[in-house]
Symmetry: C2
DNA sequence: GTGAAAGCGCTAACAA
DNA sequence: TTGTTAGCGCTTTCAC
């Protein structure tokens, strides 16, 4: 593998000159520039970014931590982060934590050792401690699709409260009076907010809040199924369910049908995220859409701004979710 | 950010000593080891992997190029690659190429400059040229879910021929006589092989091969829909379709229904991959399952072996696909 | 316009 | 068992 020395020698110039033509800095005559370029090509020279990272203190890499890359929502987030990062000249190193505190900590240390320029967190972060340590180390951090109320950190997310409100309002307007909600994990702010929005909607619709209609589960289809079974086994089962993500919603539909309820005529279901599977479900899922590409773009913009140091105040970008009406919701049965 | 010098000074030893305790090399007394460790912790010292990469000529990073991270099949592949890589101490840098030759080339150059230790390719690689250039540069390369007949390179994939054969045989056994196939792209070996397996199955079943029943499309739902429309508009339309991936299959089902055909009683559909969406489709998709976790594990094992230099001969690992029977296939209508 | 030389933070002989 | 020192491949003053 050719080094800058090889190029310099072959071109009959100093390494400083070669460096300047690589980086297009300093003043180099058109003639030598061309010549050096030719030699670089001839030698198939690839400047070492690890060497330059050592001197420049910039790796042009950002770390992305998320719960699970094979979860479509996060895969789509990752893709949008990747795209924007590439546009801005950054590589992305992805770490799936499975929401495991141990992995989280391990990967975080690893990313620091790799000297990534910044870290984007899409994980629920069990504790704020890890984030805090990054902040203390003055490493640029930004959260996406998650929030930490306690910490001053760049954040971009959708208005989860509004999302929950939209979902529940929609169901209330359809005449449902027993509306349940399935949340992933009440310790994660996004889930909590969605449930709060749901409560607000019930209140506005003059419906009583019933604690037993709030189910908590894991974040996958299985969790949705299991929670739905519990809800439908209630004395006065719900006629509509707001699931905090599309996967959970799919689980609802499956169990609803398995127990002989047709969707939406006997059971209405609303999801959240609007990933590809929402449109594939049968019936297609009415769901609260997150503008995923915008999430990715914004969070990368925030973190690169911070990396470049051109920014002082931390920002919280809140995007507006939108209710997408499809076939899984209908008038309350009577 | 503390450096090895800071630690050495604070601990009253030389940097060589610190280096030895970091890497657990050489012989260090238990006492100084403990002391140095304590100082490292106290200073929140994170050894710079970029500096050590410069001397060790190892970044402990592997690049992963794939068409699209937000495509569930590739997301699952990426997740399995990531997991195995982490187990072995490697980070993964992901690049989505959209099968765009320009991006492919750009990312490849980039990964080389980053001095990744190896590159895993899950892209269809328009031309073998890019792969060739990596091989020439003696950079470890491995293909997953793709093959290059012409190049001597580590490969792990599923037996696509067998997969196509299983799918078409199943349909033939159900009595279908007009069986169509939708392929992504005949320049990609995996698609080609699946079609060949399909042909073989037809032949064994004594069915004639009809060129007009082979449709080529893009790799997403839209492509599946569009191809299905063409097929169903034929004078003698097919009663069964083998789609080369689950997304295409979903498209088939949607168009089949939109044109008034019920699935599977009037139109049978088989997919490929067995991603999560196959089980979510309505009806659930009969599909050829790829053992994705094994693909990821094997390809990482192959490439790390090559990185470690403990391997000479290139290997081609071929895993066996399995037909998963669900609800999208049934007896031919009569 | 160009080059000499001093680092960047670490590893790996080789001495001591 | 520990320390000295010469790189690794590049960037960046600062002379010339």
């Amino acid at each position: 593998m050719a080094t800058i020395y090889d190029v310099a020698k072959e071109a009959g110039v100093s390494i400083a000159t070669v460096s300047k033509v690589i980086n297009e800095t300093g003043r180099i005559s058109e003639q030598t520039r061309k010549h050096v370029r030719a030699v670089m090509k001839e030698l198939d020279y690839q400047p070492s970014l690890v060497a330059s990272a050592l001197t420049k203190k910039r790796t042009n890499t950002i770390g992305l931590m998320l719960p699970d890359l094979s979860n479509l929502f996060f895969a789509e987030v990752a893709r949008s982060v990747e795209d924007r990062a590439h546009e801005k000249g950054y590589n992305v190193v992805i770490c799936s934590t499975d929401n495991d505190a141990g992995k989280e900590e391990k990967y975080l240390a690893w990313l620091r050792q790799k000297r990534v320029d910044g870290i984007v967190l899409a994980t629920g972060m069990q504790s704020d401690k890890s984030v805090k340590s990054l902040l203390d180390a003055r490493l640029p951090v930004a959260l996406v699709a998650r929030e930490s109320q306690r910490l001053a950190v760049d954040t971009v997310r959708v208005d989860d409260f509004l999302g929950g409100y939209l979902a529940a309002s929609h169901l209330a307007q359809l005449g449902h009076e027993r509306i349940a909600v399935i949340a992933e994990n009440l310790r994660v702010s996004s889930s909590r907010e969605r449930v709060e929005g749901y409560k607000k909607a019930l209140e506005e619709a003059g419906l009583p809040f019933d604690e037993s209609l709030v189910a908590v589960s894991s974040f996958d289809i299985e969790g949705g199924k299991e929670a739905t079974r519990r809800l439908l086994a209630l004395d006065r089962p719900p006629t509509a369910i707001f699931a905090c993500n599309d996967l959970l919603a799919i689980g609802c539909i499956q169990v609803g049908r398995a127990t002989g309820r047709s969707v939406p005529s006997q059971l209405s279901v609303v999801g959240f995220d609007n990933t590809l599977i929402a449109s594939l479900a049968e019936p297609p899922l009415t769901t609260v859409a997150q503008p995923i590409p915008d999430l990715g773009r914004h969070v990368v913009d925030l973190i690169t701004q911070e990396i470049d140091g051109g920014k002082q105040a931390k920002q919280r970008v809140v995007l507006v979710p939108e209710l997408v009406l499809r076939g899984s919701t209908g008038p309350a049965p009577r």
